[in-house]
C-alpha cells in the first residue's frame, strides 16, 4: 500500500510501532518511518560481534502493558518472555545477598542478614503492591489537565481520585511519603541491611540523574512495582531473542493490520502549513503527505529539531527547552568465553541466571552519584548486569556468553574532556569494578562494546542519551509530561501528535504512551475507519 496516508509515525521504536499497530487495526492507513536499518529504537537486538547477539540498549522487560500484549496478540507474533527470577548482590565484605524467585528461599537468604528485614520484606512488598495497584490505573489514563475545563479531563481525574480514595489510610500516608522522600530514607524506615537497601533503592535511581539520597527517588521505586507479567506484579523478564524481539512482535502486529514500515528513512522535518502538519520531509529529500503526523521521538527532537520554532508558542517552546534529559547511564556489552566467577558466591549457579546488581551499599551508590554531580563518570559505578545467553542460548555461540551491563552514572555533559576520548576509560572503570567482585572477568572478555550517553544519543536519537526520553522526576510526570497543557498527546500544531516515552506515563519498555496516544488520536483526531 502507498499513500495517501492517514497517519505518518516518525520513529520505529516500540512506542511508535504500538501507535502504528493500534491505528492500523482501527483501519487507518499508516506509515512508520525509521531512520536506522533496524526497528525498535532503544529496544533492539543486534549481532554486534559475529555470533554474539545483544539487547544493545534496553535489556529487561516488566512494564510492557499486558493489555498491549493481549490486544495486539503479541504472543501470536512471536513474543516469548522468559522469567528473570533472582537478584544477586555481591557485597564488599565478601558476603552476598540473593533475592530468589521462591519466597522461602528469599526468606532464608534475608534471615542470614537480618531476621527483621526478612519479616519487613514481606510487609513492604505487600504494601508496595497494594499501592502500585491503586496507582496503576494512571498508566491507562491520559493525564487530565488539572487547570483545564474539559469535562472529559474531570471524568478521568475523578476516576483516578476514586482509586486513591480506595487506598487505606496507612497506604495513603505511605504514598505521600513515596512522593516526597528519597529512596534511601524511605527504605531506611523498613530495613537495616545495607546491601538490601542499596539494591532495592537502585530501582529508584535507574535512568535518572539522582542519587539514592535525592528526594523524589522513592516514587520511582513504585514506578517499578507497577511492572506486571501474566498478572503477577513486579515480575521481571527477558524477551527471548532480546529486547528487539518485542519490537519485532509489535511490528508484526502492525504489519498484519496493514501498516507500512520503512527503515533507513530518517525524517528531517515536519511540514507545517498554516499551523497544521501536512506531512514530513525525509533525509533523501522525499516528501510524504498525511492527514496526521505522530512523533515518537523525544520532546526535544519532536519540537525543536523537526518543526520551525515559529510554528510553536514561545512559552511552550520555553517549557520544552527546560525539559530535563540529563542522560546519566551507559551500557557495556561484553562477549565472554566463559561465565564470571564471583568471589562472594563462586561457581556457576542459578544466581547468574537472574539480575546481578553491583550495589553493595547506599554509600557506594551515593558515591557513584557524587562523581556524576561534578561531571565525571563514576569511578566505581552502579551496575545492573544480566547474562542473556543463560536465558536464551541463541544469544551466543555454545559455551560462550553475552553479558549486558547497565552502567550508572555516566553524565552526558562531562565537566572535562569529551566522551569520544573517555569511552574506553569508562569501559575500564566498569571492568575493573566488576573484577573486584568477579576477578576472572578480565580473562573471559572476547569483545567489549562501550556505549556512552553520547553513543546512545547518536545511535538512537535519544537526546543526551536519556533512556526514558526525559527524566522520570516528579516535575516531569503525569500532566507535566512533557509540558503543562500538552500532556494528552496533542501539540500546539494541529495534526501533529506525540506518542513517545517523553509523554505520559513515561519510559521503560511499557508501550503505554504509544497505546494511549493511539486511543486519543482515534477518539479525537482520526475516528476509526
Amino acid at each position: 500500500m502507498s499513500g495517501p496516508y492517514d497517519a505518518i509515525i516518525i520513529g520505529g521504536g516500540h512506542n511508535g510501532l504500538v501507535t502504528a499497530a493500534y491505528l492500523a487495526r482501527a483501519g487507518r492507513r499508516v506509515l512508520v518511518l525509521e531512520k536506522r536499518p533496524v526497528l525498535g529504537g532503544a529496544a533492539v537486538t543486534e549481532e554486534v560481534f559475529p555470533g554474539f547477539r545483544y539487547s544493545v540498549f534496553s535489556y529487561v522487560v516488566s512494564l510492557l502493558r499486558p493489555e498491549i500484549v493481549r490486544e495486539l496478540e503479541l504472543a501470536g507474533h512471536g513474543l516469548h518472555i522468559l522469567p528473570l527470577e533472582s537478584t544477586f548482590t555481591p557485597l564488599e565484605n565478601g558476603d552476598h545477598l540473593v533475592r530468589w524467585g521462591d519466597h522461602d528461599q528469599t526468606m532464608w537468604a534475608l534471615r542470614r542478614h537480618s531476621l527483621r528485614d526478612a519479616e519487613a520484606y514481606d510487609e513492604y512488598g505487600r504494601m508496595m503492591s497494594l499501592m502500585a495497584r491503586a496507582v496503576k490505573p494512571i498508566l491507562n489514563t491520559p493525564p487530565p489537565d488539572i487547570a483545564g475545563f474539559d469535562p472529559s479531563h474531570w471524568r478521568d481525574l475523578l476516576s483516578l481520585g476514586r482509586h486513591f480514595l480506595g487506598l487505606e489510610r496507612d497506604q495513603l500516608y505511605a504514598f505521600v511519603k513515596l512522593m516526597t522522600m528519597s529512596a534511601a530514607d524511605f527504605l531506611d524506615e523498613w530495613f537495616e541491611t545495607e546491601g538490601l537497601k542499596a539494591t532495592m533503592s537502585a530501582s529508584g535511581i535507574i535512568g535518572t540523574r539522582l542519587g539514592p539520597r535525592s528526594p523524589g527517588t522513592a516514587y520511582v521505586l513504585l514506578h517499578h512495582y507497577m511492572g506486571e507479567i501474566d498478572g503477577v506484579f513486579r515480575a521481571w523478564g527477558f524477551a527471548k531473542g532480546g529486547t528487539g524481539a518485542i519490537s519485532e512482535a509489535i511490528a508484526g502486529a502492525a504489519r498484519a493490520a496493514g501498516a507500512e514500515i520503512r527503515t533507513e528513512a530518517g525524517v528531517t522535518a515536519v511540514l507545517v502549513n498554516g499551523g497544521t502538519a501536512v506531512g514530513v520531509a525525509l533525509e533523501s529529500g522525499e516528501e510524504i503527505r498525511a492527514t496526521l503526523v505522530v512523533s515518537s521521538l523525544d520532546p526535544r527532537r519532536t519540537f525543536v529539531d523537526l518543526v520551525p520554532a515559529t510554528a510553536l508558542p514561545a512559552d511552550f517552546l520555553a517549557d520544552i527547552h527546560a525539559f530535563r534529559f540529563d542522560g546519566s547511564s551507559a551500557k557495556v556489552n561484553l562477549a565472554l568465553d566463559g561465565l564470571p566467577d564471583f568471589t562472594a558466591l563462586p561457581g556457576p549457579g542459578p544466581h547468574l541466571r537472574g539480575a546481578i546488581s553491583i550495589s553493595p551499599s547506599i554509600d557506594y551508590l551515593e558515591r557513584a552519584y557524587d562523581d556524576a554531580k561534578y561531571g565525571r563518570h563514576s569511578r566505581r559505578p552502579y551496575m545492573d548486569i544480566i547474562i542473556p545467553s543463560l536465558l536464551d542460548p541463541a544469544m551466543a555461540p555454545p559455551g560462550k556468553h553475552v553479558m549486558s551491563i547497565f552502567v550508572q552514572y555516566a553524565p552526558y555533559d562531562l565537566r572535562e574532556g569529551a566522551w569520544d576520548d573517555k569511552r574506553e576509560a569508562l569501559g575500564d572503570a566498569v571492568v575493573n569494578t566488576l573484577a573486584e567482585f568477579a576477578p576472572n572477568i578480565k580473562d573471559r572478555i572476547l569483545h567489549r562494546q562501550v556505549l556512552t550517553p553520547l553513543d546512545i544519543e547518536r545511535m538512537t536519537g535519544l537526546s543526551e542519551g536519556n533512556i526514558f526520553q526525559g527524566e522520570l522526576t516528579l516535575h516531569q510526570l503525569f500532566f507535566l509530561r512533557p509540558a503543562a497543557r500538552w500532556s494528552r498527546y496533542r501539540t500546539p500544531i494541529r495534526g501533529y501528535w506525540q506518542c513517545g516515552s517523553g509523554t505520559h506515563p513515561g519510559g521503560g519498555v511499557m508501550g503505554a504512551p504509544g497505546r494511549l496516544a493511539a486511543l486519543e488520536i482515534l477518539g479525537h483526531g482520526l475516528s476509526p475507519a
Binding site: D104, Q105, W108, E119
Partner: protein, 407 residues
C-alpha cells in the same frame, strides 16, 4: 534452599512415602508411611510423635515482658501464673487477627510465645519504651509434640517424671536423655498430649530416646496430614487456611476479628488499660460481627442420595481437604467451608465454615456444595458446636489407660 528441622535426619530416614511439604521454610513430612491411616489413628489410639519445630518461637524476658504481652495480646497475660500457658490471638489496630499462638509463662519475667508467622518485627515495634528483650529462638529450639492417649505414659517413662499433676495448659521442666526439656501440656490435636521444647542440639537424642521408650506403646511418627485431620476434629482453626492474617490480607474483607474466628473467649475486655485493637473490638461487641466460624456436619444420607443418583457409592476423601466450598441457606450463599475431613473416628463428614453470623447458630440447617461425578450438588448440612471430638482425657488431671500403670 529449604532447611531441615533439627530432627531431619531421623524424619528423612523414616519418611518412606517421600511425601514432603513446606512449613515456614522448613521441609517436613506430610506422611511417613505410604498410607496415612496409622498416623492418624496413633493420635487417637496410642500416641504420635510430631515434629513441630518450624513453629516460630520467641523468648520474651525482662521487667517489661508482661506489659508487652498485655499490650499485644487479646488475653490478659497478667493472670497467667508461672508454669501456665494460654492460647491467644493478637490483633492489629483494627481489631483484626494477625496471628494466633500460645503464650507460656516460664517465670515471673520470662515468657515464650509460639506463633505460625514471624512476629519479631511486630513485637519489637510494640516494645519501644519497655524494658524487655525479645529473642527469636525459632532455630535454636526444637519442638516435638507427643499426642495421644498414651502420651503421658510414654513421657513419664522417657523423662522419668510423674506428670499426673500437670494440668491442661500447664508446663513443667524436665530432662530426656540428658537434654533439658520444657514439657507443656498443649497440642494441636484436641487429645491428651504434650509439646516438648528443647535445645536444637539435643533433638536427636530426645527423638531416639522417645522412640525407644515409646516403641512398646506404638508411638508412631506422624506427619502433617494426620495432624490436619486431628485438628479439624478438635475444631482448631489454621491460619492461611481457615482465616487470613490481617498482615497478609489484600482487601479489608479478607480480615477477621477474634470474634469472627470463634476466639472471642480469648478477648479480655474486663481488664483495665489498653491493648492493640481494643477499641475496635469493643465496637464490634456493640455492633456485632458479620461472620462466624462454625462447625458443619454434612448429612450422610443426603450425601449418599446424591451419589446414588449416578449409581455411585458416596466418595469421601481420606485425608483432610482445604479450599473454599460454598455453603447455602435456602438457595442463598451464606458462607464457605475452608477445611474438612471425613472423621474416621466419628464416621462423619465435618468441616470448618465461615458463615454469616445469622446462620451460624448450632442446629441451623444449611446446604454444602459437593462435586458428584463432575457436577455441583448440594448436600444437607447442619451447624454443630465444636470441638467435633472432645475426649475427657484432653483435660483430665488423672487417668487410667490400660497398660499405663506406673512400672
Amino acid at each position: 534452599m529449604l532447611k531441615g528441622t533439627p530432627f531431619h535426619s531421623r524424619v528423612q530416614a523414616l519418611c518412606v512415602s517421600h511425601d514432603w511439604r513446606r512449613w515456614a521454610g522448613y521441609i517436613v513430612a506430610s506422611r511417613y508411611a505410604l498410607a496415612v491411616d496409622w498416623e492418624y489413628h496413633a493420635i487417637r489410639n496410642s500416641a504420635a510423635l510430631i515434629d513441630v519445630s518450624p513453629l516460630y518461637k520467641y523468648l520474651i524476658e525482662g521487667p517489661g515482658a508482661e506489659r508487652l504481652l498485655c499490650r499485644v495480646m487479646t488475653r490478659d497475660v497478667r493472670r497467667l501464673r508461672p508454669g501456665r500457658a494460654a492460647y491467644t490471638v493478637w490483633c492489629d489496630d483494627h481489631g483484626k487477627a494477625l496471628d494466633d499462638g500460645v503464650v507460656a509463662r516460664l517465670g515471673p519475667e520470662r515468657f515464650r510465645l509460639t506463633a505460625a508467622d514471624p512476629n519479631l518485627r511486630w513485637l519489637e515495634l510494640n516494645a519501644r519504651g519497655l524494658d524487655v528483650t525479645i529473642r527469636d529462638v525459632s532455630a535454636a529450639q526444637a519442638a516435638l509434640a507427643v499426642q495421644g492417649p498414651l502420651s503421658r505414659t510414654i513421657l513419664e517413662r522417657a523423662a522419668e517424671q510423674d506428670l499426673g499433676d500437670l494440668a491442661y495448659f500447664g508446663l513443667v521442666e524436665g530432662a530426656i536423655a540428658g537434654t533439658p526439656v520444657v514439657i507443656s501440656r498443649t497440642g494441636y490435636t484436641g487429645d491428651l498430649g504434650y509439646e516438648l521444647f528443647l535445645p536444637a542440639d539435643g533433638a536427636l537424642a530426645v527423638w531416639d530416646h522417645l522412640m525407644a521408650v515409646g516403641g512398646p506403646y506404638q508411638l508412631t511418627p506422624a506427619g502433617m496430614l494426620a495432624l490436619d485431620m486431628a485438628r479439624i476434629e478438635a475444631g482448631l482453626i489454621l491460619i492461611e487456611v481457615d482465616y487470613t492474617s490481617a498482615r497478609h490480607a489484600l482487601i479489608p474483607e479478607q480480615r477477621s476479628s477474634p470474634y469472627e474466628l470463634g476466639l472471642g473467649w480469648t478477648v479480655d475486655l474486663d481488664r483495665p488499660g489498653s491493648f492493640v485493637g481494643r477499641r475496635a473490638l469493643e465496637a464490634e461487641i456493640r455492633d456485632g460481627s458479620p461472620w462466624t466460624i462454625a462447625g458443619l456436619e454434612v448429612d450422610w444420607p443426603s450425601l449418599e442420595a446424591l451419589f446414588a443418583r449416578v449409581d455411585l457409592p458416596p466418595a469421601v476423601p481420606h485425608v483432610a481437604w482445604r479450599g473454599s466450598a460454598p455453603v447455602y441457606a435456602g438457595g442463598r450463599e451464606v458462607g464457605y467451608a475452608t477445611s474438612g475431613v471425613f472423621s474416621p473416628l466419628l464416621k462423619k463428614t465435618i468441616a470448618l465454615a465461615t458463615l454469616r453470623t445469622g446462620h451460624a447458630a448450632p442446629g441451623t440447617e444449611l446446604a454444602f456444595e459437593v462435586t458428584v461425578e463432575h457436577m455441583r450438588r448440594r448436600a444437607a448440612a447442619q451447624v454443630v458446636a465444636t470441638p467435633f471430638f472432645d475426649p475427657p482425657r484432653k483435660r483430665a488431671r488423672l487417668q487410667v489407660v490400660a497398660g499405663s500403670a506406673p512400672a
